[in-house]
């Protein structure tokens, strides 16, 4: 950049000064009676002189900027000529102000209209140059009242490779290398344009590793040649890696990412779908709300009962805070919420036979824990109607292999915990046959003590 080109950069600054003064001139001319304008003759002349001088400065700096060449020549040419005409008209009004005000007020009004039109047209052409031609295009009426984040194009596995590339480039590069601006005479908004390259030649080679575009992206951010420029939004690592992958796949256009087998490490470019939560412990379909009175009574008995998720009606009940005398009535009361109740925890309690019997009604239970209770083979039979059970924790109870035979209908069981029960390790084989889906754990794990566990290491 030489010193002239440097002055060219001041165009966007200087250009706003004549605009301001001309607007003042327009306001005065349009709204102040003629006689008062004549009284303020010297002030108006001063305003016009200032605007004309700055308009001239704008034309000169603008011309310098335009020949630096990174703009759409057609739009530049319009803007340039409009600007020059406006400057000349400005000077004419300045020199002929006396005549216009005293002799021909009609011509004065005409000149005002002309300035207004030229100012608008020139400004618009200039705005399109800096911000792109669509910058001032209003949105379609149906979007006028749409607030909130705007919808972006999404990359999915069914996007074609070219689509994915264009989405990444649009977001990061088009502003300077697109339709309305071509810094370094480079456009990136079509495959042909990318292949063509810019003023420094081609940016794509046969391999990504030899391609100039990759070099520019990968240079340290402080390097003057690094792209995008330091102060602009940077590409994510995965986006850069994707571009390299795309170049190495011969810049494929039609095939989808699926067909091209996009490697896992590049999945970061994909639009993140909401995470699907698969949880067999919760039914897919919601149920109606639980009876409020029953819930109140259960709460009164000391049952900790609450919804499992905030937008569904399924309930979890825990007897952790119960007094022993309330357990039997509470178990019987649970029947009233049996369609909602899917998780139940009775750990550390001794239940009466009546309380255990009440269990058989709770047919929607999916998760059930009776660790450290008086559960035994006799009471286990009440579990047989609970065909939805997925998780069953019988740790520290008196159940045996034989007792478990009563549960053979619980075909949905996925986890069965039998640590500290009478079930031996050798029963696992037959149990696995009985519950094909289940992970059966009889525990008794041990961590051996090594010499090193109790000694201090020295060198």
């Amino acid at each position: 950049m030489n010193i002239f080109e440097y002055f060219g950069n001041f165009h966007p600054l200087v250009v706003h000064l004549p605009i301001g003064f001309l607007v003042v001139f327009l306001l005065l001319g349009l709204f102040i009676p003629r006689q008062k304008l004549i009284d303020a003759y010297s002030i108006i002349r001063l305003i016009l002189l200032t605007s004309a001088l700055f308009a001239t400065a704008s034309s000169i700096t603008g011309y310098i900027l335009s020949i630096s060449g990174s703009y759409d020549q057609e739009v530049v040419s319009n803007h340039k000529w409009f600007g020059i005409v406006l400057t000349i008209v400005n000077w004419i009004i300045y020199f002929k102000l006396d005549y216009l005000l005293h002799t021909s007020i009609r011509n004065f009004r005409l000149s005002l209209v002309f300035v207004l039109v030229m100012l608008t047209v020139t400004g618009h052409a200039g705005g399109s140059l800096t911000h792109g031609s669509e910058f001032l295009t209003p949105p379609p009426p149906d979007q006028w009242l749409a607030f909130g984040p705007k919808e972006k194009r999404k990359i999915t596995m069914s996007s074609t490779a070219l689509e994915a590339t264009s989405i990444i480039l649009e977001e990061n590069c088009y502003a300077c290398h697109g339709r309305s601006k071509q810094k370094g005479e480079l456009r990136l908004d079509s495959k042909e344009a990318i292949l063509k390259g810019g003023e420094d030649g081609k940016i794509i080679a046969e391999h990504a590793a030899d391609s100039r575009i990759m070099e520019l992206l990968l240079l340290p951010i402080d390097d003057d040649d690094h792209m995008p420029p330091k102060e602009k939004k940077q590409l994510a690592d995965v986006e850069i890696n994707y571009l390299a992958w795309w170049i190495d796949h011969a810049m494929n256009e039609e095939k989808t990412l699926e067909e091209l087998e996009l490697p896992d490490s590049l999945h970061g470019i994909l639009y993140e779908e909401e995470i699907q939560i698969i949880n067999n412990l919760v039914p897919d379909k919601d149920v109606k709300e639980a009876d409020e009175k029953a819930l109140e009574r259960l709460n009164g008995l000391g049952v900790t009962i609450f919804p499992i998720e905030s937008d569904a009606n399924f309930l979890s009940a825990n007897f952790a805070n119960m007094l022993p005398e309330n357990i039997t009535p509470a178990m019987q009361e649970l029947e009233k919420v049996k369609s909602q109740l899917i998780w139940l925890n009775l750990d550390y309690h001794q239940l009466t036979p009546e309380a255990w019997t009440a269990l058989s009604k709770l047919e929607n239970l999916r998760k059930f824990s009776v660790r450290n209770t008086n559960m035994d083979d006799e009471f286990l039979v009440h579990l047989s109607p609970l065909k939805s059970l997925v998780y069953l924790n019988l740790v520290d109870t008196k159940v045996t292999d034989e007792g478990l035979l009563q549960l053979k209908e619980l075909q949905k069981l996925e986890s069965l915990f039998l640590y500290q029960t009478m079930v031996g390790k050798n029963a696992i084989a037959s149990l696995t046959q009985m519950f094909p889906l289940a992970r059966i754990d009889t525990g008794n794990y041990f961590v051996p003590t090594l010499v090193s566990d109790t000694t201090i290491f020295h060198k």
Binding site: E272, I277, E309, F417, D441, F446, T454, F457
Partner: protein, 492 residues
């Protein structure tokens, strides 16, 4: 609060009350926190002050979580990933060679000045289990359960000093004043066992973590959600017994009377801190009955002590691990363990990666392994999340403090890459995510940030970390601030 209530409230602000508040000094503060609203958007949970009930009552998360409780084992001081999980044979070859400029240019380290040398791995590594996880000979027990663990091999942080890094890891911000993870979780989920605190903190290793008690503070959340620190030797909770000549009945009567007075005061001022006080008194009373039983590890059978390597007569990490299992078993929501002494700079034998680190591993390896297996056999590993990690990693370079080589083998603080692991429900077991470069200096793929880990933990508990907020000083705060991505690659 609706408009009518608000006006009524304002009418109550009489001149007499104003003067009373002035003399009390803190009245204004009470009023301001009364206006602050709690409750996370998109859920049915209600403003605590409006509930007027028990702030620790169990609440539903946004969706059914895969886990219900968390045991977070924080190795304060930051263990060296290069001696434990992140095996770098190339680093071995460069042992003693000068560190390349690219590792130093534009970088800042806590202590390294000048040009240090590289330090090869001091441990021996092997692959274990069906998953082929790489674990060093420093952890002979953990390696036997490799298939239960989920490794994050390229965690990064943006802090390289202990206190801010610990705060970032636990509270989502490197500066003081924000609630820690345990507080967020108990605020969001409450706790199912009303007789025990929802959030318990146990420390070992001779010191509290460098960031002090703020790492288990409740920040701007009501203080009922702060971590309850229990002692690791003697009686776990001080002054749990009634004083002489005070019976349980008279204690009960006095606490009931106090609660009544406090309730009146709450009805007048609606200050949630009063609810905190009421529930703390009631909890203390209930704990008098439950704590001696649950917190007493001496009653555990001998084989359990042998499995964990715990000893009720000593004050050691293994006791805390066993206690953590007992607490989780009884429904405590969040148990946070801090073990101090993992800072291996090479300035002393204790703080070296070839001696001190070996001994820290010996102190902790057996009990951590026992914890996973014990939770598993009790059917609790499915609904519990165990997290293990430090606040940052350690450099592939030998530490040169003030430009001179340290006397022992040691590594400086390193924020670019370190390893953490998790175990429990909802995770891919025997899975390793992320990879560092040949020197173990920085992550090259699968990099995850501290906020990503927090987002993932909240996700497993049933929260969308972007929706789980608390309004404070006019804006909605999140544990993950404005960051965080769920590490869905490790989810089952």
């Amino acid at each position: 609060m609706n408009e009518g209530e608000r006006i009524k409230k304002l009418e109550e602000q009489t001149r007499r009350l104003f003067l009373k508040n002035c003399t009390l000094g803190l009245g204004g503060l009470a009023f301001s926190s009364m206006l602050g609203s709690c409750g996370y958007s998109g859920s049915g949970s209600e403003n605590m002050a409006e509930m007027g009930g028990n702030p620790m009552a169990p609440k539903a998360p946004q969706y059914a979580g895969k886990v219900k409780q968390v045991i977070y084992i924080h190795m304060a001081g930051a263990p060296s990933q290069l001696e434990l999980f992140d095996y770098k044979p190339e680093l071995h070859k460069l042992d003693g060679k000068t560190c390349p400029q690219s590792f130093l240019e534009g970088k800042r380290f806590a202590f390294i000045r000048g040009v240090p040398t590289m330090l090869g791995p001091q441990a021996k590594f092997k692959q274990y289990g069906d998953s082929g996880a790489i674990i060093s000979n420093y952890l002979p027990h953990l390696s036997t359960i490799a298939d239960e663990l989920t490794f994050l091999k390229a965690v990064h942080t943006d802090q390289f000093n202990h206190a801010p890094a610990q705060l970032l890891m636990q509270t989502g911000g490197a500066r003081l004043g924000r609630p820690c993870m345990g507080s967020w979780v108990t605020y969001g989920l409450g706790t199912e066992n009303a007789n025990l605190p929802g959030f318990v903190v146990l420390t070992s290793g001779g010191n509290n973590p460098d960031a002090g008690k703020s790492v288990w503070g409740s920040g701007f959340l009501p203080s009922v959600y702060q971590g309850v620190q229990c002692r690791s030797d003697g009686t776990p909770v001080l002054f749990i017994d009634n004083p002489e000549h005070i019976s349980r009945e008279s204690r009960k009567a006095s606490i009931e009377a106090l609660s009544k007075v406090n309730k009146l005061s709450y009805d007048e001022f609606k200050d949630p801190e009063i609810l905190t006080r009421i529930s703390q008194y009631e909890l203390a009373f209930k704990m008098q009955a439950t704590v001696p039983d649950v917190m007493n590890i001496a009653d555990e059978p001998e084989y359990i002590h042998e499995m964990y390597g715990s000893d009720p007569n000593k004050s050691i990490f293994a006791n805390n691990v066993l206690l953590a299992r007992k607490l989780v078993e009884r429904g405590v929501r969040f148990v946070q363990l801090y073990d101090w002494g993992w800072d291996t700079h090479g300035t002393s034998e204790k703080g070296s990666v070839d001696i001190g680190l070996v001994n820290k591993c010996r102190e902790t390896d057996k009990s951590v392994t026992a914890l996973i297996l014990d939770l598993k056999q009790r059917g609790l590993l499915d609904e519990t999340l165990v997290v293990w990690g430090g606040e940052f990693g350690r450099t592939p370079m030998q530490e040169f403090r003030e430009g001179k080589e340290n006397i022992f083998k040691g590594r400086d603080h390193h924020s670019e890459a370190f390893t953490m692991w998790m175990a429990g429900g909802g995770l891919k077991k025997g899975f390793s995510y992320g990879e560092t470069d040949e020197m173990g200096y920085a992550g090259i793929n699968g990099r995850v940030s501290v906020h990503d880990i927090q987002a993932t933990i909240l996700h497993l508990l049933g929260f969308d970390h972007e929706q789980f907020t608390y309004k404070y000083q006019g804006r909605d705060f999140r544990l993950t601030d404005v960051h965080g991505r769920i590490i869905k690659e490790i989810l089952a």
